[in-house]
């Protein structure tokens, strides 16, 4: 079954067509990378999927259900989580509190004016597990805004994970990271895959990361779908080499 399906999506900003008639299907459990030059429409695609704005035409299906008309928070409730190209966290709260908010929302507690003892313990355990998985346990009490850039990006991923999503959308998780941090994030994403059923869509500029992790790759260029295939197929694709890899090399 396809966890994510995008049908003929078009997005216009005034006269600019950021996405033109893009179709995409991601089956359960796959790690799909989306690549393309700057301004290709990758983030716009995430914005359509996550409900940041509505498409000008076309539809988005999540686990077979049409979610095009749903608000962002409703899509999260169905099991969609995303991170942003520019880190979005709660800077004046601790790392633990950042993740706890996500965990409480996932547990359905967001409007609760108080929690029982066992509920609270359950949430804390969930947060600790997530921080452990993300390798942030030692920094749980630090203010998120005071972390190094790389740790902030990991914290944002941890928040998304605490939502227990079926589909995780990562927008350039290694953006602005050094060599070692990039490796750590790559390892984290690999661990996530090993851990379970999670379907991941990853926008990424770092080709080593992409070829390391992706099951399949989708290439966008000027808002259009240029190619799709396994890493080997994409590496061998002439149109892609010309439009993207050629330029990057």
């Amino acid at each position: 079954m396809n966890v994510l399906e995008i049908r003929n999506a078009t997005k216009r900003f005034g006269s600019l067509v950021a996405l033109r008639n893009v179709a995409l299907s991601v089956p359960a459990g796959e790690l799909r990378a989306i690549i393309g030059p700057n301004g290709a429409g990758k983030t716009t695609l995430f914005n359509l999927v996550s409900g940041f704005f509505a498409p000008s035409a076309g539809s988005v299906l999540f686990a077979g259900r049409d979610v095009t008309a749903l608000a962002a928070h409703q899509r999260v409730a169905l099991g969609m989580a995303r991170t942003f190209q520019i880190t979005e966290i709660f800077p004046e709260l601790t790392v633990f509190e950042n993740v706890r908010i996500a965990a409480e929302v996932a547990a359905g507690y967001r409007l609760r004016p108080r929690l029982g003892r066992s509920e609270r313990a359950e949430v804390c355990r969930r947060v600790e597990q997530t921080l452990e998985l993300a390798g942030l346990a030692a920094k749980a009490k630090r203010l998120a805004g005071e972390l190094a850039h790389g740790d902030q990006r990991v914290a944002e991923i941890a928040m998304a994970l605490a939502l227990k999503p079926r589909l995780l959308l990562l927008d350039e998780p290694t953006a602005g990271m050094g060599e070692q941090e990039t490796q750590e994030i790559t390892r984290l994403i690999r661990r996530l895959r090993a851990a379970g059923e999670l379907t991941i869509v990853l926008i990424e500029h770092d080709m080593r990361v992409v070829f390391h992790l992706a099951d399949r790759i989708t290439v966008l260029c000027y808002g259009e779908l240029l190619a799709e295939g396994t890493p080997q197929e994409i590496a061998a694709n002439e149109a892609v080499q010309e439009a993207y890899l050629g330029k990057a090399a």
Partner: protein, 319 residues
């Protein structure tokens, strides 16, 4: 790392409660009087209620006087026309302002920043003019008179909060304690943390599955209920409700108290209210231009204590 700061904060809180509990006894020694203490409590409660929204949800309202005033008129009219009962007056006063806030909030939560603030001012002024014009009901410009808070009855005992200033002060203190207790509980709950999340980063909050508008509405409505309770108490301080209690300048005063005391700290607005009320009380007996001195004070506080009077103490405590 936080244990020492935590201990300092607990000591500070204990000291604060001690000062509030003993106020009727130490206030005269420093030239104050018990009614002044009650005024600080009531305006402090209003400023803390506003700050529930301003400091802890990140939403700026410049119209909270509307709910404060509705609480005051609601309580006054209840005592005057409906029932000679202090609890009922508090109840209906709080309900009047709270329900108005809930309805108005539903209309405006999709607005942001300065637009939200402007609409809150505008609605506040609507209530002001109604109170100002509707002479027969509200007493118009002269304010609402002809009512008085009533003695409390508990299981056969009567507590004369009307004539006994100390008793009235402790009555206000109990109402204050219960309300700020509820506020503190909410701020430490999942609901309260979604408010912090919205303050910190609305986009992140939304994409963590928080319906931001709905949560701002909840925070706004709660804040209006708390504020109108403060207003209802205010009507009882002087047995008087006046249209200035609805005027936007009071909304501004409440924001000033919160900012001056420290928006990010729970008790900051109470400290701000204390400074404001004391300075006003002291200066207005010397000069009619007291407001310009308050203005100067605000400038000094903002320059030297950018996080408010309590904000500084907290920074120090954390370091």
């Amino acid at each position: 790392m936080n244990s020492r700061a935590g201990a300092a904060r607990q000591a500070g809180t204990a000291l604060l409660w001690a000062a509030l509990l003993l106020a009727p006894y130490w206030l005269p020694w420093v030239g104050g009087y018990t009614a002044l203490g009650a005024r600080v409590l009531v305006l402090g409660l209003a400023a803390m209620s506003l700050n529930f929204l301003l400091g802890f949800t990140g939403v700026v309202s410049f119209g909270h006087a509307a709910y404060f005033g509705l609480g005051a008129y609601g309580a006054g009219l209840t005592l005057k026309l409906l029932a000679h009962s202090t609890p009922l007056a508090l109840f209906f006063g709080t309900l009047a302002g709270g329900i108005a806030g809930a309805l108005l909030g539903a209309l405006i939560v999709h607005l942001r920043g300065v637009y939200f603030a402007m609409v809150t001012i505008a609605f506040g002024q609507v209530f002001y003019y109604i109170a100002f014009r509707w002479n027969s009901l509200t007493g118009g410009d002269d304010g609402l008179r002809g009512f008085a808070r009533q003695p409390l009855h508990f299981a056969g005992y009567a507590i004369d909060i009307l004539n006994n200033g100390h008793a009235f002060y402790y009555f206000v203190l109990v109402c204050f304690a219960v309300t700020v207790g509820v506020m503190a509980l909410i701020l430490r709950s999942p609901l309260g943390r979604t408010m912090l999340a919205i303050r910190e980063n609305e986009r992140r909050a939304r994409f963590l599955g928080i319906p931001v508008e709905r949560h701002i509405w909840v925070a706004f409505t709660l804040s209006c209920f708390f504020t109108s309770l403060a207003g209802a108490l205010y009507a009882m301080v002087n047995n008087f409700a006046d249209p200035m209690g609805l005027h936007w300048s009071l909304s501004g005063d409440l924001v000033i108290m919160a900012v001056m005391g420290g928006m990010r700290s729970f008790w900051g607005p109470l400290v701000g209210a204390a400074v404001f009320v004391v300075v006003q009380d002291f200066l207005s007996s010397i000069t009619t231009n007291w407001m310009s001195f308050v203005g100067l004070l605000i400038v000094l506080v903002v320059l030297f204590f950018p996080r408010g009077l309590l904000g500084l103490a907290q920074r120090r405590g954390e370091a």
